[in-house]
């Protein structure tokens, strides 16, 4: 495919890239909302909150499989903070998600599910198991706190 391409000098090639950059600015600019949302992201920072990192995601393991089966199957997520482990099972239900989960190390803590549109209460049983129906698809995280501690999972898009 390159055989018939002209032998252009480097300055000409550089000038073409500059010209293409000009076209990119008018044809595919960064939307203003993207910049505004990014600026607002800093407000979501909680200084006193520990992060429970995502340590396992069935989507990552089964990448090839996920492509085959599509977005409609169950996804398993595991998050870990120093003394807290969260396991989440995500089942798609139309444009919503049904979550079943288990929290270890946060007995008696207050749990809530934060998503792009708001916050849902989470009520675990005595074994730390919980279920939340009708979570809007999109970005979410689980927040856990008691009088002394606060832990949130990292954001995940489900």
């Amino acid at each position: 495919m390159t055989g018939r391409d002209e032998a252009l000098t480097d300055p000409v090639v550089d000038a073409l890239l500059a010209r293409l950059g000009e076209a990119a600015r008018s044809q595919d600019p960064v939307p203003a909302a993207v910049l505004a949302n990014a600026a607002a992201a800093l407000e979501l920072r909680d200084l006193d909150t520990a992060l429970a990192a995502l340590v396992a995601d069935s989507d990552d393991v089964d990448e090839a499989l996920a492509l085959v089966r599509g977005p409609q199957s169950t996804r398993l997520l595991t998050f870990e903070a120093p003394a807290v482990v969260v396991e989440l099972q995500v089942v798609p239900a139309g444009s919503a998600r049904q979550l079943e989960g288990h929290v270890d190390g946060a007995d008696g803590w207050e749990l809530s599910l934060e998503h792009a549109g708001g916050v849902l209460p989470v009520t675990p049983d005595e074994h730390g198991r919980f279920r939340v129906d009708a979570v809007p698809a999109g970005r979410m995280r689980l927040a856990m706190r008691d009088g002394e501690h606060a832990v949130t999972t990292t954001w995940v898009t489900v």
Partner: protein, 211 residues
């Protein structure tokens, strides 16, 4: 590359300094947008991938070990967000790639000149969109403004640094051939319009390429 003190920005951002955070946003959002577009994400998915990347940095403020390389860290993170988005597939109906052409934003002084310029840009962009996938992908990432480092491009595309230079040259030469075949004049392919440089908000301001 530029004189932005990245370590200072990260430290101050971790303290909640919105101004320092804003400088990071201004510096790197064009890179992240370009990486998302290089992955052919729709407007909605690209916006989501960029926002997910910034949220990841918020979570990790104070944990970035090499502040000078935060651009590469962001590009890598954005690439992961893009791959996850591609894996999930479009959650809703396929979103058409609607280009936001904001003609209302062009002021009245020279509507004709602006229209001509846009038309000229659109013709070149159409040729660009017709490039082979590897070429389109690399060039789209390189088009971020301010210009990204090869390390950032490599991180954002998962591509070896050593192959960026040669591929860039080969793809631009091929683009030139295709554009000439499409009837675009050689002059048009290498002359950046001086008025565009002055009037475009993206090209002016504080984020010049002071290399």
């Amino acid at each position: 590359m530029d004189d932005l003190d990245l370590e200072w920005c990260l430290v101050r951002s971790a303290e909640g300094d919105q101004l320092a955070w804003g400088r990071l946003i201004t510096r790197f959002t064009p890179l992240l947008w370009a990486v998302a577009r290089a992955h052919r994400l729709s407007d909605a998915d690209a916006s989501d991938a960029v926002q997910g990347t910034w949220l990841r940095l918020v979570e990790n403020l104070g944990r970035i070990r090499e502040p000078d390389r935060v651009g590469a860290w962001l590009a890598t993170t954005c690439r992961r967000e893009c791959l996850a988005a591609l894996r999930r597939g479009s959650r809703e109906q396929p979103v058409e790639q609607d280009r936001v052409v904001d003609l209302t934003g062009a002021d009245h002084r020279s509507v004709d000149a602006d229209l001509l310029r846009r038309e000229r840009d659109a013709r070149l962009w159409a040729v660009f969109e017709g490039l082979s996938d590897p070429c389109r992908r690399l060039l789209r990432a390189l088009l971020a403004d301010p210009a990204p480092s090869y390390e950032e491009v490599s991180a954002g595309l998962g591509m070896p640094i050593g192959s960026i230079g040669p591929t860039r040259g080969r793809c631009l030469r091929h683009l030139h051939t295709l554009a000439v075949e499409a009837g675009i004049s050689r002059d048009d392919l290498t002359s950046v319009s001086p008025t565009e440089l002055r009037s475009s908000p993206a090209a002016g301001s504080t984020r010049g390429r002071t290399s």
